[in-house]
Every structure is written in structure tokens, then in C-alpha cells.
């Protein structure tokens, strides 16, 4: 749990594309990383597992880049911790 949300998101993207972690940066575009529609599905699936969140289809479709993905995950993680104050 020591990694930041950003680090964990970047790691998931790197794992999905089987890329070295250092090649995936917050300013990398999905296009230059070769992320296609199925890779996006895999990334969303892994994000849901990693953070124990549910990502809405419509919200997911709006995500254009990695900062938006990190922001979306952060929002859901915060919403979850507010919903269960014992955490």
C-alpha cells in the first residue's frame, strides 16, 4: 500500500501492455502505448480489482488520458473510504 494511486495505475497499464514500467509515464498517451479497446477493458478490470472499486461504463468511456484515469480512480477510492468510515 506504500505506492501512490498514480504508481499503481501506471503499473497496471504497464502490466496489461507487457511494457517496462519506466516506459509508462503520466503524460504517455494511450495511442503511443498501443492501448486498444480490449487493453482498455483489461486495464479497467485490473483497476477494479486493485482498488476494490466499480467503474461505470459511461464514466470509463470519457477517460481520454492517464491523468484522467488516475483522477477517476482517486475519486472512486475517496468515495469508497467516505462510504465506509471504519477504513
Amino acid at each position: 500500500m506504500s505506492d501512490s494511486i498514480q504508481d499503481r495505475v501506471l503499473k497496471i497499464i504497464a502490466n496489461t501492455r507487457r511494457l517496462p514500467l519506466e516506459s509508462v509515464r503520466p503524460d504517455s498517451s494511450f495511442e503511443e502505448l498501443g492501448v486498444d479497446s480490449l487493453d482498455r477493458l483489461n486495464i479497467l478490470f485490473d483497476l477494479e480489482s486493485e482498488f476494490d472499486i466499480e467503474i461505470d461504463d459511461e464514466e470509463a468511456k470519457k477517460v481520454q488520458n492517464i491523468p484522467e484515469m488516475i483522477a477517476g480512480v482517486t475519486h472512486l477510492v475517496e468515495a469508497k473510504s467516505q462510504a465506509s468510515p471504519e477504513n
Binding site: 486498444d36 479497446s37 480490449l38 459511461e58 470509463a60
Partner: protein, 403 residues
Amino acid sequence: MPRVVITGMGVISALGLTREAFWQSLVAGRCGIRAIASDDFQQIRFKHAADVQGFVPEDFLCAKDITLMDRFAQFAVVTAREAVAQSGLEWTPALREGCAIITGSCIGGRSAEEQGYRELYIHKRNRVHPLTIPLSMANAATSHISMQFGIVGPSYTISTACASSAHAIGQAFHMVRSGVVPMALAGGTEAPLYFGNLKAWEAMRVISKDTCRPFSADRSGLVLGEGAAMLVLEPLEVALARGARPIAEIVGFGMTADAGHITQPSPEGPARAMRLALRDAGLAPEQIGYINAHGTATEANDRTETAAIRLVFAAHADRLAVSSTKSMHGHTLGAAGALEAAASAMSLEQGILPPTANYTLPDPACDLDFVPNTARHQQVEACLSNSFAFGGLNAVLALRRLN
């Protein structure tokens, strides 16, 4: 080569349990999609499906047969009976010996398999039902049709995802036309609304949050449906000689592969399949007046299919009517091509083009005449029925009106 006609059709769908109920709903633009309140759907992010309502197996099948058939096989037998009844066919030993049965199913009876997994993994039992294999195998539909009618000719099942039954009908059409078989029963059947499969589709993130709005800018994905359609195919001269009333003629079949991506479609593969269907039919593009589109209401399909139609028809694309009846009967996967071939045949026979229901907002990337929301009285000479599968496997049927 003999001309091949459809002389009987049976349909079970979210629009009703008969061919007539199916057609009347299509003409009325009535949508069979609804929010489902079952326990399974409580645990699914999407809430809508086009389920078959009011199907009581006991109304159609004897108790012994029911226990041997998963829902998808029950649909197959009941629609095959309706098709044969409409055709007025009298079975002779020669017909039973020669008739082909070709069905398409993508999922088949996998819900029976899921029931077995529940026993193993949830209820911790160490055994599954002894009929799990014969209930779940995708060819069970074909097998049960053959047993119902005593048909002993070439019989098999094709599984090409959402193009399965278009491939089945196309193959049957070619077999009848070439004289390999004297007649064929062909179509497709699917009952995919069980928990594990719903979850798998949820994970694909292609299911609509409300209803199915093909080609509409505010579409949000496809809606799963269940159902079946079976067609009786025979040579025109044979049909006329025995006093049958053919519904429409099948004149062409084209099939291609994209060799591209396992889920992303490309315009070229579908376009080539449409061209091959036209060539097989000996039709010029300008003779086509209507296309029953694959029209799933995913952004990828609808934009790609529009582009493919423009590639094939050029300026004539603006004079074509194109509609997706999935907006009413949902996406029935392996049965889709058969339901849509049935809709296409009836549209030629009746001179009515079914609409694209639930259409609200034009999408600049989908700029064809989609017959929005209201059926159109229009007699066209010929039409195409498009089916494009995940995996990039494309099947297109060409049908022509009989005078």
C-alpha cells in the same frame, strides 16, 4: 442452378412466440426490451434484456423431451415446427433422407453447464447432472430437430458468434442451390440470459444502460436478447409444383474474415462480404433497396457498418433504407442472423420496411436513412441482411422479392 426460396419460417423472440407476433411487432415498431427484475440482474450493472416471455415448454413439448433439452434447443424445435407447418411440406422418405439441418448457435446450452458449475463450486457437491453434456452441446438444437422430424440428412451446427445463423442459412442456401440436398431447415437459436454469461458481457462494457438505439448518437451499447428462427429452404420449382406459397427468394451469400482484431471490426471485411453476396446473387448494387443492418448499437459496429455500406454502394447508399431490428428483438447472438433473415424475407413479401426503433439523435458518423421509429410502406426488389461477428467473421445474405 435451381432458384432457392423460403417457404416456411418459425420465430420465437422477445416480440412473441410466433412468426406473426414477431412481424406485427416489427411493423408497429414495438420494442421487446425491458428492465429485468430477476435476482441475477440485481448483481449485474446493466438491467435490460430482450427476454422471451410466456414460453411454457409444456405447451409445445412432451415431458420426456423437455428434460432432454436446454431452453435454446426447445426454441429450435418449436420454431422448426412452425416453419415446417407454414411450408405445408409433406415428409417423404426421400426428403427425410436428403434434407439438411444447419443451425447456428454461439452460446448453445452453456446455461446447463453453468448449473453444473454451481453444484461443484458453490454447493460443493462432487457431481453434476448426468445430462449436462447433451444439454449444453451447441449441436443439440440440430440433433433435436432431426429427431423430431426423423430427418437423417447432413446435419450440423455452425458457431461464428453473432454471424452463426447467417452462416448456417447461407451454407444451406448454397447446398440447396447446388443440388447437394433437396431441401434444408436452417436458422439459429440462443438462450444467453444466464448469470455467468451476463457477467461476461458486463465485463465487455458493450451493453446499453437503457435500451438499444442503433445508429443514434446517444446509443450506449447493445442489449442481449434470446430467441430462435428457423427457415425451410427449397427449390422454387419444387415449391410451386406442390402448391406452396414461397415468402421470398434467397439469391446470394457472401462471407469474409477481417483478419484484423478479435473484437474491433473493420469496414473492409464487411464491405467485401456485401460485394460477394451481390456477386453471388447476380445483383447490381442499385437493385438493393433495403439493408437489414447488423446494427448492434455499439459505436464500433454502427460507424464501421455505415462506412462499409458507403464503400459498397457509393452514391446509391443515400437511396437505401437501412434499419436494425435489434432495436426491437435485441441482439440474439447466434440466432441474430436468422431472426433478421426472417424479418428481411417478410419485409420483401409484405412491402413494409421495419424501422430502427428507439432512434433519437442523428450521429454525423452514421449518416444513412435508418427508417427511424416508424415502419415504411415501401416495396423493394431486393435486400441484404448483414451479420458481422466478433472475431471479424462476416456473413451477408441477399434476398429478392417474388412476384
